[in-house]
Subunit: 452 residues, 2 copies
């Protein structure tokens, strides 16, 4: 049976299987969801068995367990290791969702739910393409699956897991569907990723909240101080001011900048889609360079003092921020993490106490387009989307991709099917049914090509 026909006949089952995963709120950032993590892992184990794996099991780690499954065709055949993650981001702010984040809805040809794309929907593409090639006897190589439950919190346990299970995870290439394309009509494969470093900053002023009338003007306010410190991290040219921050940043080669300049990109539409009147970034670089090949600094969260209704006059004791840098290949996240901690401590005024806690991090990654598996993926996209995909660097981070390379010695091909409009990590995350179908086709084609 042709893959298009197979999808048609089985789509309602595919969606029911996906929805059964989405309904489990496997939010790794929140400890109250521990049971959901187990339930979600177990559901994947069942689904991978049903899809055609010889065996599938839950494997413990220092944190949430991982799901491992495999289909062995021949000891002489090459092996593809498919990585995905079953955890999702928190759904807050809940009031902005048009439908419940953990009760998937199909509207306007899209699935709406937390995890619809990232990464339950994309992982389901891999599972269903696998099911088809197994069922049709098209699979000529071994396939292994490893699905983790801590990607959204920086995969704190994966590193040790990879080291412990190097033999089990042995493969020729890793396949990951967790990135996005330039557009529904602009298929692309990700050949570069940014790294990440993340910190929490705690600023303590007085030892208790003070009356801003009695103390205001004489005692430093930790929120004012935190704001001043954060304001210093980026200068007027949009450059990060941390000393030695750019030391290892490779300047984007002229050829690549030229290629980026030729990517069809409508800055006006980009601004309209996110509702801003102007863009802001590092001087001397285009928007597409800024969000993929250049590092960035963002305050991801800030809080302190009175944040309830109405007005409370207070000079608070504490202020907090969660901040992160996106890094580019060659920037070591541990080096950057230390540079940042040192920098913040160096600009911390004596009238407050400042504590900077590194949270997690990961390196950037580059995939050579000469890799046979990359070329198989390219053919898969070409077949499914009707045009050759562009090779582009993206701004997101999958820190573990460089861990795969360093620990397992395996290159990764990023066959991601997301779109910017999928709103991953945001309210109203969604995934196009049309892309979902094409994704399955593309991965089926990858398997066929990779075996040649």
């Amino acid at each position: 049976m042709e893959i298009k026909q197979y999808i048609k006949e089985n789509e309602s089952r595919f969606l029911e299987e996906l929805f059964s995963l989405i309904r489990i709120p496997s939010i790794s950032a929140l400890p109250q969801h521990k049971d959901d993590m187990l339930a979600c892992a177990e559901r994947w184990r069942q689904l991978l068995l049903e899809a055609g794996a010889d065996e599938a099991m839950i494997m413990p780690s220092q944190g949430n367990p991982l799901v491992y499954a495999e289909k062995r065709v021949s000891p002489d055949a090459p092996t593809v290791l498919i990585y995905a993650h079953y955890d999702v981001m928190p759904a807050e702010p809940l009031e902005l969702w048009k439908s419940q984040p953990f009760e998937p809805e199909v509207r306007d040809g899209h699935i709406w739910a937390r995890g619809a794309d990232d990464d339950k929907g994309q992982a389901m593409i891999q599972a269903k393409a696998f099911e088809y090639v197994v069922k049709e006897g098209l699979l000529k190589h071994n396939v292994k699956f490893i699905f983790e439950g801590e990607e959204e919190i920086g995969s704190p346990s994966l590193n040790a897991f990879l080291k412990e299970h190097k033999e089990l995870l042995k493969a020729d290439v890793i396949l990951v569907s967790d990135t996005s394309m330039l557009g529904a009509d602009l298929p692309s494969l990700t050949t570069g990723l940014r790294g990440l470093a993340y910190w929490e900053i705690e600023v303590t002023g007085p030892n208790r909240d003070l009356h801003s009338g009695h103390f205001g003007g004489a005692v430093a306010n930790p929120i004012n101080t935190l704001c001043s410190m954060l304001a210093q991290v980026i200068d007027a040219d949009g450059r990060i001011t941390i000393p030695h921050f750019y030391d290892d940043v490779e300047e984007v080669p002229a050829a690549e900048r030229d290629m980026i300049a030729h990517i069809p990109f409508d800055e006006k539409k980009y601004m309209e889609a996110i509702g801003v009147k102007a863009l802001k970034g590092e001087k001397g670089y285009s928007t597409l360079e800024r969000n993929s090949c250049r590092p960035s600094f963002d305050v991801c969260g800030i809080w302190g003092g009175y944040t309830g209704e109405g007005s409370k006059t207070v000079l608070p004791s504490k202020a907090y921020a969660k901040v992160s840098c996106r890094l580019v290949p060659h920037q070591n996240h541990e080096v950057i993490s230390k540079l940042f901690v040192d920098y913040i401590n160096s600009i911390a005024p004596e009238y407050v106490q400042v504590k900077v806690t590194p949270m997690h991090g990961g390196e950037g990654y580059v995939c050579p387009i000469s890799l046979p598996a990359y070329q198989a993926a390219e053919k898969g996209f070409t077949k499914a989307f009707g045009k050759k995909p562009l090779a582009v660097r993206r701004g997101g981070s999958i820190p573990i991709i460089s861990d795969f390379e360093q620990i397992l010695g395996i290159k990764t091909v990023l066959m991601g099917f997301g779109l910017e409009s999928d709103a991953i990590h945001s309210p109203n995350e969604n995934f196009s049914l049309d892309i979902f179908r094409k994704g399955i086709e593309a991965v089926v084609e990858f398997h066929k090509e990779f075996s040649k």
Copy 2:
């Protein structure tokens, strides 16, 4: 009966009465406490009647009702109007309280609870001094009470109430116990107060929370932007940068600066008490000048992005701050409010949308020490505390004090008995029982002196 003896015999009843008020969480900032506001007003009505008022009633306003009570001695006698407020600040952060904020405890000679000082405890001093002078037949002037329920949210309804009830509230002087002294052994009367202006700032970047990997570096982050704007409000010399902000600020006269310099003040102990290693404020002024005679700018609260456990990488859509300025006499809060809104709008970059909402405000105040009622208060303090109180300006704001002057044409004497260590507006608010007793004595003496 002597007042000391009277207090001794009745103290357990006084405390039970005070505790019955404290147990009602009359938090004006939170709408879910509407019923508590009514209950607290009603409790005060009963207590003032029991203390000796001829009549007491609940009077409606545009917001929370007010309690009015009066004792008419003679139409020819002067009248003292006693103002207090029955509302309290929110008790957050709750986890820092050693005992429940709304379940008063007596430990180490102090009452511990929200409102123990501000203003239930201090208002109770007035009520019990009144009870004594009535019972002992010492009262030679008329007394009126007006207790409002919106002081902690800026008394939004009081202005209209004063205009409507000018005749009813007619008096020769207003007496308020809602300020603090320099120390338990350093009695003082407040002769000046700072004004206040308060705003909420909302900064909107993209129309939804974005993935900081896909957009970071290319799209302005509203938290970073808010921090940069707030950091600009105070310069390196601790001066507020809002254009024309200092236009109406009267430089503190040399004689007053000299008096302030002679107030016994241990800066080291001050820093130790609030747990800071250094102080920060406007260049060229001392700590006591900075927190009483000079304006200030504080961020009272800030929030935006992900503030939960763990780390979420997000480029948020919104960031918020609650900010306030303490003002000095002659600075008009409405003028300052407009200057601030204009300033923030003028520095708001084009890549975000900024909305500044004025919340409330009030003028500063100065009380002449030649006022007979001031001198009666001075004698009251001298009798109760064994030394003449210092006349000092304080940094807090009671915006309605200048409204009393402007609308009712009446000067106010601020007989406040608080201490910095009372931690008003903070966790573990408390009030010394010793001061409570001395306060009653001082006010009794005021009544005796004022009649002369």
